[in-house]
């Protein structure tokens, strides 16, 4: 009994010491300023008003000096406000909810797999193992062309899927925000694996009859992290163009990319990737400040492409039989961990409170100068953010990040539940996760959200948002009819 008690009280003491230290360092300015202010006020009260006026008179200011100094002050203030980057607001976003007719239960996926790969039982076994451990649920959706035995991925079907998901998401965005198509100044569409001519952004412009002087961009080939790259691009454009609206559409079109061969390294995406899309409205207009949901605080992009192993770890190529698929290398997790470390090294100083930064700096100096064997200090990012949206790339990715960042199950709940309900929807998964947090009523004013996405290349991109107003639980949206069922317990291995 005593040893446990002393351990407990020791850890308690440590906790309070830590809390005390954090409070001290993070509020140091307030803690110094308050006594100073109190001292000044006491002094002023003691001196009395006539003494103050005498003091003022004795300073001998003349008109020129006063004018010059006020001019300098005004000049400095103006320069400050002009050079401050414009605030970018996320007015609202909407996620595509696939219809039940696209639903793919486990049993159906496996049966189709067996029929499509009838000469390769080993590959079918492999797919079954992956599916059992994938963390996906029974309600994820694939596009209609993939439901056929064998799948019929024509270009027409791919365009059909693109129109279905993108137009649904955009229609929903228009309704939610009251945005008129003619008011869109910037349009960015990102879809990694389907890039027809004319582009998907041209398809959107054609459908909604957008203005002829619209600034449109189409990003392709940039993987699952392209959603945040589009946000970054929109931010840069909104700095240059005042008073503008930007719409970002993130999606991945599954139809043309369903791997039809038998190589195991290429079968994994078939098991995980599912239909999804998101449309986001960003604005730098002052008038949107009041109704915007979030404000963009930081975007940090890290590219490890200079390293050959990182470059080749997610690679689209033909297999021996000429089927095109995306090959995932075995070092994917290690490379992802590496990219993450680079990213948080950059984002850490921007978001971490002073207490964490000092600790990190001290251990860094200590390791360099005194003893390299000291454990590196992993800053506590839970101090910097209330919510985490980790790209639902797969169960392994979420597990890895949870371990590296020392997050609790509640923090990664949005990611795990999105993976369960919608599968890996690539660049739009971050928005389904945000929507989950809002639907649970957890998003309060002032909350900071960290979105992290990984993508081929190998890239790790982060975005930090600050919640502008407490968000009421939405009555529409992808989670509206199922949020009460969540969170669910996802077993390690599902029995098929």
């Amino acid at each position: 009994m005593p040893p446990i008690f002393t351990d407990f009280s020791a850890s308690c003491n440590l906790k309070y010491v830590k809390l005390g230290y954090q409070y001290l360092v993070n509020h140091i300015l307030a803690l110094i300023l308050v006594p100073v202010m109190v001292g000044v006020v006491v002094e002023v009260v003691r001196l009395g008003p006539e003494e103050i006026v005498n003091l003022w008179g004795s300073l001998h200011f003349d008109l020129v000096q006063v004018l010059c100094s006020s001019f300098v002050v005004i000049f400095v203030v103006t320069v400050y406000f002009m050079s401050k980057p414009r605030s970018i607001y996320l007015v609202d976003y909407s996620c595509y909810k696939p219809p039940v007719t696209c639903r793919v239960p486990f049993a159906t996926f496996m049966e189709h797999s067996r029929l499509n790969l009838r000469n390769n039982p080993k590959s079918v076994e492999f797919q079954m193992r992956i599916l059992e451990r994938s963390g996906l649920g029974e309600e994820t959706c694939l596009p209609p062309a993939i439901h056929y035995i064998p799948p019929t991925p024509t270009m027409e079907a791919a365009r059909g899927e693109a129109e279905l998901v993108i137009f649904s998401a955009m229609d929903s965005l228009f309704i939610k925000t009251g945005l008129k198509p003619k008011d869109i100044d910037i349009l960015i569409v990102n879809c990694s694996l389907f890039s027809p001519t004319p582009s998907l952004s041209a398809m959107v412009i054609n459908k909604y009859k957008l203005r002829s002087n619209i600034k449109s961009f189409n990003l392709s080939g940039m993987g699952c992290s392209a959603g945040l790259i589009s946000i970054d691009l929109a931010r840069d454009l909104l700095q240059v163009h005042p008073n503008s609206n930007a719409v970002v559409v993130s999606t991945e079109i599954i139809t043309p990319n369903y791997y039809q061969g038998k190589e195991r390294a290429m079968l994994l995406p078939n098991c995980l990737f599912r239909m999804g899309a998101a449309a986001i409205l960003l604005s730098n207009r002052r008038s949107e400040r009041w109704r915007a949901k979030y404000r963009l605080v930081h975007v940090v992009r890290t590219h490890k492409g200079a390293d050959d192993k990182a470059y080749r770890c997610v690679f689209e190529e033909e297999d021996k039989e000429g089927n095109v698929g995306i090959s995932l290398s075995k070092d994917l997790m290690a490379i992802a961990g590496d990219a993450l470390k680079s990213n948080i090294t950059t984002i850490g100083p921007l978001v971490l409170p002073a207490s964490e930064q000092i600790l990190f700096l001290l251990t860094l100096i200590g390791r360099k100068i005194f003893n390299p064997k000291w454990k590196p200090y992993i800053p506590d990012f839970k101090q910097a953010f209330e919510h985490f949206c980790i790209h639902a790339g797969g169960r392994a990715v979420i597990d890895e990040l949870q371990k590296n960042l020392q997050l609790s199950p509640e923090h990664v709940e949005a990611s795990r539940m999105t993976l369960h309900r919608f599968g890996n929807t690539s660049s739009s998964s971050l928005w389904y996760e945000m929507s989950y947090i809002e639907s649970k009523g957890r998003m309060k004013r002032g909350d900071r959200v960290w979105q992290i996405a990984f993508g081929s290349g190998f890239k790790c991109n982060s975005a930090v948002w600050k919640c502008n107003r407490t968000i009421k639980t939405p009555t529409d949206g992808p989670w509206a009819d199922c949020i009460e069922r969540y969170p669910v317990h996802i077993p390690e291995v599902v029995k098929l």
């Binding site: 007719t101 239960p105 486990f106 159906t108 029974e138 056929y148 035995i149």
Partner: protein
């Protein structure tokens, strides 16, 4: 994959997909099979409904799919797959939402030409059929084929594993789909036939015959070549028959006629026992299961020389001749927990009365089918005769499909 066509290429361009329930059924839902269900496991029902181009106007596979998901919510057990329980090996249905197999096809004939055709086996082209097994857990229980005709008409062909339910259940199944198509709403789940527990030992049924173990490939091994043919009886024929042999009903007369004809044909080997199946009058509509009354009828006299009326009244069971063998079949199967394989249709010459099965109740765009045709796939050597109603408004025309041994 396109199924290879043997001698006809009239139906081509087959595309397969699966349709399941829109809602998740749940991870541990099972549908138990009764003794009677297991006795029927080697039989399959095939139903074809033909609709004219007026009814099929504007219909595409996409707008047929959405109501199907709704419909499968109610019929989730048809979307499951067979599994064997441990350790007894008794089959049951795991309701895992795997789905029914839907097949789209195109036919190069018009509806009129199709109906005029002589070949009795042409109906098989309109129903995509595969037996259950050898991999039980990957064999769909229901196949639905939608074939588009040159004139714009369509046919709906259903292949249904008899262990799920009898022909009356199939008719309800199809009629419910028609209602789902019209209203896009589910009609409420069908009532599953009660699972009775018979522990009292019963005598051996005459209508069920044991067969050699089929293992995991659920198909009947016939000792002779089986063929299907059908013929129409017009209203005139029927009213002539009924007038002559008042007051016996048309079905019993037809059965008696056929029984006597077969007895004459197989001189020396005339069938003394027949099985008669008809709808259980005590059951409401919308029941899923094997609830039809199965009676075996023994003739103590020579069938060849018998009077038609006498034979017909024997079949009708006016004086309670013949016994309802459902409980006996159930008890036989349960004796060894469903491990023995049986056949019902064709163990004796079997007559099935589908006249009041509601075959013309299905509606597409408010229009009834032009023609409905049912047959049984997998019949024992003694053969089976189905008596079907004809298309309205000539409601009393009768069409028969017979699976008969060619000696």
């Amino acid at each position: 994959m396109v199924s290879p066509q043997q001698h006809h290429d009239h139906v081509y361009d087959l595309k397969l997909l699966s349709v399941g329930p829109g809602h998740v059924t749940g991870s541990d839902v099972v549908h138990d099979l009764t003794g009677l269900d297991l006795a029927m496991k080697l039989h399959y029902l095939k139903a074809v409904y033909l609709f004219s181009s007026h009814a099929a106007e504007g219909l595409t596979i996409m707008n047929m799919k959405e109501p199907m998901f709704c419909w499968c919510n109610d019929y989730f057990m048809t979307c499951g797959r067979i599994k064997r329980s441990e350790p007894s090996g008794r089959p049951y249905i795991k309701c895992n939402d795997c789905g029914i197999r839907v097949v789209e096809g195109v036919c190069d004939k018009t509806l009129d030409e199709w109906i005029e055709m002589e070949d009795g086996s042409r109906w098989n082209l309109l129903v995509y059929h595969r037996v259950i097994g050898p991999e039980l857990s990957f064999s769909p229980l229901v196949y639905l084929q939608v074939t588009w005709f040159k004139c714009g008409g369509i046919s709906l062909g259903i292949s249904w594993a008899h262990l799920l339910g009898d022909a009356f259940s199939v008719s309800d199944f199809v009629n419910n789909w028609g209602r789902c198509m019209a209203t896009l709403k589910a009609n409420g789940s069908p009532t599953v036939a009660p699972r009775s527990q018979t522990t009292v030992p019963k005598p051996q049924p005459l209508s069920a015959k044991q067969v050699n173990h089929v293992g995991d490939l659920w198909v009947i091994a016939n000792n002779c070549k089986m063929e299907t043919f059908s013929f129409n009886l017009t209203t005139q024929h029927l009213s002539n028959l009924e007038d002559e042999h008042n007051p016996v009903s048309a079905f019993n007369l037809i059965c008696a006629l056929i029984w006597r004809s077969i007895a004459k044909f197989r001189e020396g080997f005339e069938p003394q026992v027949v099985t008669v199946c008809r709808k259980d009058p005590n059951h409401d509509n919308n029941i899923l299961g094997n609830t039809q009354v199965i009676r075996s009828i023994k003739a103590d006299f020579s069938v060849v020389e018998s009077d038609l009326n006498k034979l017909a009244s024997l079949i009708a069971g006016d004086q309670n001749q013949g016994r309802d063998e459902r409980n006996m079949i159930e008890a036989s199967v349960e004796k060894d927990n469903g491990l023995t394989d049986y056949i019902i249709y064709g163990s004796n010459l079997t007559f099935v009365n589908l006249v009041n099965a509601g075959l013309y109740e299905m509606e597409l765009k408010g229009k009834k089918p032009r023609f409905a045709y049912y047959s049984i796939q997998g019949v024992g050597d003694e053969g089976a005769v189905l008596v079907l109603p004809g298309p309205p408004p000539q409601g009393s025309t009768v069409i028969m499909a017979a699976d008969e041994a060619i000696w």
